[in-house]
Amino acid sequence: MMAISTHNHRSNPWPGRLSALLPLGLLVGLVFQAPRIQSGRPLALAFEWVPGLNVHFALLLDGVGLLFALIITAIGLLVTIYADAYMVGHPQRNRFFLYLHAFLLSMLGLVLSNDLILLFVFWELTSLFSFLLIGFEHASAQARNSARQALLVTGCGGLLLLVGFLMVGQVTGTYALSELPGHAAQLHRHSLYLSILMCMLAGAFTKSAQFPFHFWLPNAMAAPTPISAFLHSATMVKAGIYLLARLHPVLGGTPVWMTTLVLLGAFTALWGAAVSIARTELKSILAQTTIMALGIMTMFLGGRSAPALTAAMTFLLVHSLYKSALFMVAGAIDHQTGTREIEKIGGLARFMPFTAAATLFATLSMAGFPLFIGFIGKEIMYKGALTEDVFPGLAAGATLVSNALMTAVAATLVLRPFWGQPRKVHPSGEAPWQMWIGPLLIGGTCLGFGLIPDWVGHWLVEPAVRAIHVTPVDVELKLFYGFNTPLLLSMITILMGGSFYVFRRWLRRRLSQLLPALPITTEGLYEGLVAAVISFAKWQTRRLQNGSLFQYLVVIIGATVVSVGWVFLGSAPLSALWNPPEFPGWLGLLLIAMLMAIGIVVQARSRVLAICGLGVIGAGAAILFLVFGAPDVGLTQILVETLTLIIVAIVLLRLPPIEPQPDANRLQHTLRLTLSIGSGVLVSAFLIAVTQHDVDRTITTFYEQASYIQAHGRNIVNVILVDFRSLDTLGEITVVAVSALAARALIRKKRSAP
């Protein structure tokens, strides 16, 4: 109880509530731009960002951007309101809203970027926030694994996407999206076309969960439900669709584009639809139907006729609406009953009338009943499928079967939980108003849009299709096109869906037997790959990072001696070494003292003696620095020696005495001796050889002259450190700070360990 009250104290609800003003403001702003966009005048904004690389911070609001931006802000607003109740009392409530709106802005940036590199940055940001939000309940191992999986899959796709973008930049000389359609013919003919296309598709397919990368999306349901409603149904997973739509006039229309998109899209759609039947958990069902919907959109973007593209854009809108509403409903059911298993709940409509109404509207749209926008979407889908350039029959068949399965799923979603006999689990009443107002508004919109399809077509779909279709088109969405093939197919869909619903238990049983029996799944391949990487990393860490300081030193010094010695002996005439530089005779005494100290260090049996010997060597080196005119270095050397002595003195008390080397280690002993003498001789010879040549003093002269004039300092070393090369110093002190923190943590950890 104590813990909860302190948490509540920390999670003030108002920051989250007020953050709803962000999507609200953006939404209102976007709505006011709609007439301008509709009349075909895109809104552009550009700053210079990295002019040297031809990369600009360029934003463009056109038809397709507006459609996505409206979906992002409108659903973002409703999800924020929803989450106000869903996240109530959560200790990390404010962090949740921070991530949510950071994602919202990244997603908006993605759909408004007019520069490929900028788009990539936003693309990666959406992956990053998706990672943070899937892993939001980071205490759960499942959430962490799912988050990592989503990040790895979408991240790899993102990197390939960057490669594709760079290749496009190389071929066309521009990163501006709005200029790329003009280069379409050039790209199609180019020998890199196939590589570019594959990279782009890898990015889009991983993000939009297309087969074979579909497996991360159902796992992403570990995220809090508002996130599933927002990121993993309405917005982020549509980023791949957005990219395909954007690139349609640039890379699209070729046989390989059409074949790949239609075949993979159709397969993904059928796969998602079939698996959704086999599932009984609400969010899992919804995730699978999202995969199906993304497959359908990909399939239609494979076509190049106006109806195919219209179908893709219309279904995008239709799906974002009903799916986000249904996710919010799933969360509300979970919130009120504590379960999302549809077999455990029933008859909720009596207790949760508003939620039930919202579900009814959303599922009717999902099933494609007349008067709902889903019906219009389905009509145009069949029209689009029949005009595909490749495999029109297959496209129509896949659309028909997956739509029929969708109808069955929609019926299951509304009838099982809300009507029928109440089951074991009873709800604690209607959900808080924040949790049903959003779904109800969206459900109402599904109906409203269905009643005024020409308005939707005029304001939302037509500008989007115009932006991605090569030639101008007029989009007419109508409630009734007359008695034709699409209408017939719509009717068949509903009939088929009805029979699927009746036989759903049988279907579920067969599919649940079939799915685990698959010999290879792409998720299995992913897991295998990750496990292989981890075991390889463990193996090489055990081999290379085994914690033996001696071994590290042997590798480092040995590698230096061998590689530097090899080059040095091969290039420098050794005779030069017989001409060592002049130095005062009394320094010979110093050298003798240092050599004696080395002898003591090597022979010492006590650590104190060894440290003192090292101190003598260090002091000797400092004197050498002073004599040869480097007072700063000499001073530093002395101070470092002093501090080392103090630190070693502290550590010393805890170390065991030096153990005499047993004879068995004679080989090791010889190795040490060889390496020490070898490196010493090499470095000395190297330095002598260097002094034989005239050193290029350009830089030294520059510093000598500029130090006082430009930087008002006479100590050149210091002026270089704090002025001329201060950026380097800044980096170095950052490293110092970070390593000190790490060292302190290690020392502390050792102490707290028993």
């Binding site: 007072p631 700063d632 001073l635 530093t636 101070l639 470092v640 002093t642 501090l643 103090i646 630190i647 502290i650 550590v651 805890r654 930087a711 008002h712 300092g713 006479r714 100590n715 070393v717 210091n718 002026v719 450190l721 704090v722 002025d723 201060s726 950026l727 110093t729 800044l730 002190i733 950052t734 110092v736 700070a737 390593s739 000190a740 923190l741 060292a743 302190r744 020392i747 502390r748 050792k750 102490r751």
Partner: protein
């Protein structure tokens, strides 16, 4: 191992060492010295106190945690760079006041940042070791 002689000597010597450190920091721009060296000198002073009176005395005398000192130092170094930007010059460009007759410049601020980071780093390790 609390020796009275060491304790008494430490009072005097550590104070002198601190003064020396500040002096080295100040004169570093024209003569041997500077933030890094000054931090090493100051660290020896604190190490002396830690040896004679224990790490708690150092912490009390510092009033500032070593890790916070590092953070403040990094902030100071960054901030001195931002001053250059405010003067419409590239990040980390030295700015002097007054502009001609040079008294103080942002490099001194930067060097003070280096001083604090290095001192904080050494002390955080030293004190952690002492307290083990």
């Amino acid at each position: 191992m609390r020796s009275v002689i060491l304790k008494t000597a430490t009072r005097l010597v550590s104070a002198l060492v601190m003064v020396l450190a500040v002096y080295l920091l100040w004169r570093g721009h024209h003569a041997p010295g500077g933030g890094f060296i000054a931090a090493l000198v100051a660290a020896t002073g604190f190490a002396l106190v830690a040896l004679s009176e224990g790490p708690a005395a150092v912490r009390q005398g510092l009033r500032l945690r070593p890790s916070h000192m590092m953070g403040a130092g990094l902030g100071l170094a960054l901030g001195s760079g931002v001053i250059g930007m405010l003067a419409q010059r590239p990040f980390l460009t030295g700015v002097w006041w007054p502009p001609s007759g040079v008294v103080v410049g942002t490099p001194l601020l930067f060097d003070t940042g280096v001083f604090m980071v290095v001192l904080g780093a050494i002390l955080s390790v030293l004190l952690a070791l002492e307290e083990t």
